[in-house]
């Protein structure tokens, strides 16, 4: 799983790390329980301050995407949402994005197709049919 960081971007590096890891979890490149590098190792590899990586990991932990323990470092954690509830903190964000997409004139079919693409739902449907 490649983490691409752009130092000339306006987005802070720790947010870039957080976003990339969340995206990788979402599209299945990072699986539940998969080990992440230690703060020091990732900082050394990316050539950034340990505090930056620490900040990103703290953010991911707080949001429930990873779990950390002192012995094994960090690992991916997929929360089981058995009630299929939309997390409250995401509702507003999604609402805003959908409104923006609608305002740009994108049809609901295109938006749904795009969401299905991100979810990998088409592939799963096809696999189910087979």
């Amino acid at each position: 799983m490649l983490l691409t960081l752009d130092f000339s971007s306006d987005i802070p590096i720790y947010v870039q790390i957080r976003n990339e890891i969340v995206q990788a979890i979402g599209d299945g490149r990072l699986k539940d329980g998969e080990r992440l590098p230690t703060v020091r190792a990732l900082a050394a590899e990316a050539g950034i301050n340990s505090m930056t990586v620490n900040k990103a990991y703290k953010m991911l932990k707080l949001e429930g995407y990873i779990i950390t323990d002192r012995r094994n470092g960090a690992a991916v954690h997929l929360s089981k949402n058995e009630d299929n509830n939309m997390p409250e903190e995401l509702e507003d964000k999604i609402g805003l994005v959908v409104a923006e997409v609608k305002a740009k004139g994108v049809t609901i079919d295109r938006l749904v197709a795009y969401i299905r693409e991100i979810y990998g739902a088409d592939n799963k449907d096809k696999e189910g049919e087979e």
């Binding site: 691409t4 960081l5 130092f7 080990r35 590899e45």
Partner: protein, 466 residues
């Protein structure tokens, strides 16, 4: 003349070929990077970029012709010291000149990329890096640690033995310095095993398993090369230490063994780098990296990134690794190497010319025989001289410490029968005084043959009348 041929065949020409070979391969694209510039996929079909590559090769050839011309010019002077000084300067020229075409190509391509991107509307970042998270999380431990440690410890044994049962007191410091320097090479190479294991992972694919495999191959090859280096260095250190005890050692023997040592080490380095390159080529497929960290590469060759804590990083083009010049250790290392190279080249050139052109004088002053050249070389009390003999030829002898130029022999030498002798003679086609004293043997003469003969007569008169 022999020295000039040796210098040309052993040093200048191989160095020229090695630099030409390295820089020729540096001019080939590695992934989407050419001349240290990150390019877009279609760029390699661009006629202007193809033209730049051709021009780069032409410039390299021009440097080759210039180097050969300077080497031939260096062979013309009759005095060895002048030729050797020109050769020394030529080494400096080779080190710098072969990088100039690359730096020019880097500048041209960078400005072309900027123009092309502005036309296409593509933003140029130059500060984008990629990290493979899974590869970092699955880092391999240090390889060949035990074999390397054993080799390093074995390499220290001659130093310990020299301290405990060392040779005669006048040579002990010198011998200790030689074996100490050699064994320190083994220590440095052992430390490199740890540096290799901490180097950044290679990213040649979007598949982490591939990146892990390529990084593993790289670490294995580099570590194996280091261990070979450590053990060959240890054997060489033992050889040098044992030969220090020998009565008589021919210079050619030392040169041949040193050459074998260098060839084995060079072969290990080249084989390792070729295997790393092959592994990268085998696995990388059609992957084009998103990373673009051009801004951190000065002239496309020198890595300078203040934010990066890594000391060693993979080179962008060609093969091998390079150091981060923004790190204090990188700066210190380059400054030390630069000062050593500049001082040794300039200093040794001046020293050789001084040795060659400063006359040798032999006089008798206040009951003492005094031999002078750059400084006062030897002062022998006439009463201590037991025998003096005028010889036309010097005996077969090998240098232990000192100078062995075409025109001057100076310092501590050892004759074939194992006798140590102090020498300060101008090689002028005959006329040397062999002097036996209570403390040892000397070979001395004066710049002028007639003065040497005159002095010899005075000496024999003194010994007969004593």
């Amino acid at each position: 003349m022999g020295m000039k041929i040796l210098m040309g065949c052993v040093c200048i020409l191989p160095m020229m070929l090695i630099f030409y070979g390295i820089m020729y391969f540096e001019g080939k694209p590695k992934g989407n990077i050419l001349f240290g510039v990150t390019l877009w996929q279609e760029a390699f079909e661009d006629e202007k970029i193809k033209q730049m590559q051709k021009l780069y090769k032409k410039r390299l050839l021009l440097i080759n012709i210039m180097t050969i011309a300077l080497f031939v010019a260096g062979c013309i002077p009759k005095r060895e010291s002048i030729s050797m000084s020109i050769f020394m300067m030529l080494i400096l020229v080779i080190i710098i000149a072969y990088f100039i075409p690359f730096a020019i190509a880097n500048r041209q391509l960078t400005s072309y990329k900027l123009t092309a991107n502005q036309t296409n509307g593509t933003p140029v970042s130059g500060e984008k890096i990629a990290v493979d998270i899974k590869a970092v999380a699955n880092r391999e431990p240090v390889m060949f640690k035990k074999t390397g440690l054993a080799g390093m410890i074995a390499g220290i044994i001659p130093v310990i033995l020299e301290i405990i049962i060392g040779t005669s007191s006048d040579m002990k410091g010198y011998n200790l310095l030689v074996v100490g320097v050699l064994s320190s090479v083994g220590i440095i190479m052992f430390c490199m095993l740890f540096v290799y294991s901490r180097m950044k992972t290679d990213i040649v694919s979007t598949d982490s398993a591939v990146n892990i495999q390529v990084t593993r191959v790289r670490n294995y090859q580099l570590s194996r090369m280091s261990v070979i280096f450590i053990w060959v260095n240890t054997i060489f250190t033992f050889y040098i230490w044992i030969r220090m005890w020998a009565d008589y050692v021919k210079v050619t023997e030392i040169v041949i063994v040193s050459l074998i040592y260098v060839i084995i080490v060079m072969a290990a380095i080249i084989v390792a780098q070729i295997k790393i390159r092959k592994a990268e080529d085998k696995y990388k497929g059609e992957y084009i990296s998103e990373a673009d960290d051009d801004r951190y590469w000065l002239w496309g060759m020198v890595y300078y990134n203040k934010n990066d804590k890594s000391f060693m990083v993979n080179k962008r083009t060609g093969i091998g690794t390079t150091i981060n010049m923004a790190k204090p250790a990188g700066k210190i290392m380059m400054a030390v190497v630069g000062i050593i190279v500049a001082l040794s080249i300039i200093g040794s050139s001046i020293w050789m010319i001084l040795l060659d052109f400063t006359p040798v004088s032999l006089t008798i002053e206040q009951g003492k025989l005094v031999s002078n050249q750059i400084g006062n070389e030897y002062t022998i009390n006439l009463n201590a001289i037991t025998k003096a003999e005028l010889v036309d030829e010097l005996p077969d002898m090998s240098k232990r410490v000192g100078t062995g130029m075409d025109t001057l022999y100076k310092g501590l030498w050892r004759e074939k029968d194992g006798t140590d002798c102090q020498v300060c003679v101008r090689i002028n086609g005959g006329c040397y005084i062999k002097i036996e004293t209570v403390s040892g043997r000397y070979y001395l003469n004066d710049e002028d043959k007639s003065d040497t003969k005159e002095l010899y007569d005075m000496l024999t008169d003194y010994i007969e009348n004593k």
